[in-house]
């Protein structure tokens, strides 16, 4: 039960103890490789011309010539659509994260810098917003406004700014009170990429969920969520529609999470 850290607390010399567990860089490197793969696939996806429905080629099984992963119920190529999905996902999620990052950093810093009741109110408001699953509100909002790229982008950006603000506030407030400015200058830039990576992962999933529920991307857009909805419709007749978008979604989320966690571990070790 007694670990090395405890021994250190007991006044034993640091020299006697095994070196602090440096995280094997596997998470960080794995995450970076994955993210690079996602970026490359996004570029490839950007070059793909959107295929229109081709009724003659509906529900072709994988392995068909010209359609290695088969086609969906409208005759669209699953592989091409999945690749285009990278572009779509990144085009929605990255700007949303950026906007949320800017807004959240602003709110978080404002909360940390202000005094008295202003700070209390800003802090409590951020806490409340970050603690409420706004997905349940975002979905109906898009349902009312109508699905499309811009509603999705704006809703996701608003959704993600609260956790950003909370992370920035926590980084500058450090649990014990306001941090000196020079310290915050290091703490905030260190926290942002970690939170950013987690939020990218989260928003990719949220986008897919919204589209899956039919309140996200337009019906024709190559969103993975739309493709998963197609897969749901044709689950017994064409199970292959599921695999490619599911794998793409998992790859993106996994890479972002690994990257964020790896980076977070790295900062924690450096902080020691």
């Amino acid at each position: 039960m007694t670990g090395p850290v405890l021994a250190h607390e007991m006044g034993l010399s640091r020299r006697l103890l095994p070196a602090p567990a440096i995280p094997r860089p596997g998470l960080l490197v794995g995450g970076m490789v994955g993210l690079m793969a996602v970026a490359v696939l996004g570029l490839v996806g950007a070059g793909i011309v959107q295929e229109h429905a081709a009724p003659a080629q509906r529900l072709l099984a994988p392995g068909t010539i010209g359609h290695p992963l088969g086609t969906d119920q409208l005759g669209r190529d699953v592989l091409a659509r999945t690749l285009a999905g990278f572009r779509w996902s990144l085009a929605v999620v990255l700007p949303a994260t950026l906007i949320a990052g800017l807004a959240g950093t602003g709110i978080g810093l404002a909360a940390a810098a202000s005094l008295g009741w202003t700070r209390v109110i800003l802090e409590r408001a951020t806490e409340t917003a970050a603690g409420f699953p706004f997905l349940v509100l975002a979905a109906p909002v898009i349902a009312i406004v109508g699905r499309g790229y811009w509603p999705l982008l704006i809703v996701l950006a608003i959704l993600a700014s609260a956790p950003f603000a909370l992370a920035v506030f926590d980084a500058t407030w450090g649990g014990r009170g306001r941090m000196p400015v020079f310290q915050a200058l290091y703490a905030v830039p260190a926290a942002l990429p970690v939170v950013g990576a987690f939020i990218v992962a989260d928003l990719v999933v949220t986008e897919a969920c919204l589209s899956f529920l039919g309140v996200g991307a337009p019906e024709v857009a190559p969103s993975w969520g739309n493709m998963l909805a197609d897969a749901r419709q044709n689950v017994t007749t064409a199970p292959w529609i599921l695999y490619a978008p599911a794998a793409a979604l998992v790859l993106t989320v996994l890479s972002a999470n690994w990257f964020g966690e790896g980076l977070g571990q790295l900062w924690r070790v450096k902080a020691r």
Partner: protein
């Protein structure tokens, strides 16, 4: 000089609890106000507010009565006040699709959602928390590395994907055609999958922290067996800390439940929300959002209550030293 700084009395804990409950109620109020305001703006921006407010499939007379009920001819400020007061009075109007009061429609679906989340919570408490304790006790061991990565990977598999794979494995052609036990089992399974890695990671941290505390060393130095140390000292302290963290995840479980309930056709509030928003059944959508907001902050309040009941340190904050 010596003696406690204050004598422990009943009102310390009562004051603390009251403060937390008031805070949670305030949060709920603020969220409901914001939701109502946002919905009002959306309604005003829509082409025909009365038609939206009445809900899809409303007859001409129903649209007309919504128009009157919400005072849509009055000045904009008065419209806003009417809208918000109606919402806060939980008067969401009639759902034309269900031919019933929207609140009543939602209320009938609540038990299903509560049952589902309770099942997922129970399963997670069993699997996720044990995993977290196991992981936390091995924070310095090599197996911690791969176990942690496995959990992170599990967490990165979205509930949506897990659910779809389950659908495919079971061969569930249509959500509506599924039998209730099957749809309940699969929904609970998916939500447990969603919550387990999160709960495990959030438990592992406090456990690993508790193990390093000096008081664990004290207990051990007085002859505590490793089982006594674990059950008498490490677990009570760390699970208390973990509860506060997992409480937030439980609130987000409700948003994951929207997708999962819809996917498996489990007739809960989330399912109702998904179906109603697709059908643009505004009264029911509004009522469902309010219900979920209430559940979220009720969860937080419950966590507060448990913490206050178990953690003596929280009582101190209530009285000045």
């Amino acid at each position: 000089m010596e003696g406690p700084r204050w004598e422990e009395g009943g009102h310390g804990i009562a004051l603390h609890v009251a403060r937390r409950l008031i805070y949670r109620a305030g949060q709920l109020g603020a969220v409901l106000m914001s939701v109502a305001t946002l919905l009002f703006i959306l309604v005003r921006l829509s082409a025909s507010p009365a038609a939206l407010l009445a809900g899809a499939g409303a007859s001409h007379a129903e649209v007309r009565s919504a128009h009157v009920a919400y005072g849509l001819d009055g000045p904009i400020l008065q419209q806003y006040v009417t809208f918000v007061t109606r919402a806060l009075r939980l008067d969401f109007g009639q759902s034309p699709a269900h031919q019933a009061a929207a609140l009543e429609v939602v209320r009938l679906r609540l038990p299903a959602t509560l049952m589902l989340t309770a099942a997922a919570l129970a399963a997670t408490a069993l699997v996720g928390v044990s995993l977290g304790v196991w992981l936390g006790l091995r924070a310095d061991r090599p197996e911690h590395g791969w176990a942690f990565r496995l959990l992170l990977t599990g967490q990165s598999l979205p509930a949506l994907i897990v659910g779809l794979v389950l659908v495919q494995v079971v061969g569930m052609t249509s959500a509506m055609g599924a039998s209730a036990p099957l749809s309940f089992t699969l929904s609970a399974l998916t939500l447990t999958w969603w919550l387990t890695p999160r709960a495990a990671r959030l438990t592992a941290g406090p456990v690993a922290g508790a193990v390093r505390q000096t008081w664990v060393l004290t207990a051990k130095a007085m002859g505590a067996t490793s089982r006594d140390v674990l059950w008498g000292h490490v677990l009570p302290n760390s699970l208390l800390a973990a509860l506060a963290l997992v409480g937030v995840q439980v609130a987000f479980l409700l948003s994951a439940a929207v997708v999962v309930e819809w996917l498996f056709g489990w007739p809960g509030v989330g399912n109702l929300l998904a179906v109603s928003m697709q059908a643009r059944d505004f009264p029911v959508v509004e009522a469902a959002i309010f219900a979920i907001a209430f559940l979220v902050f009720a969860t937080y309040a419950m966590v507060d209550l448990v913490l206050a009941a178990v953690d003596p340190r929280l009582r101190r904050r209530a009285t000045p030293p």
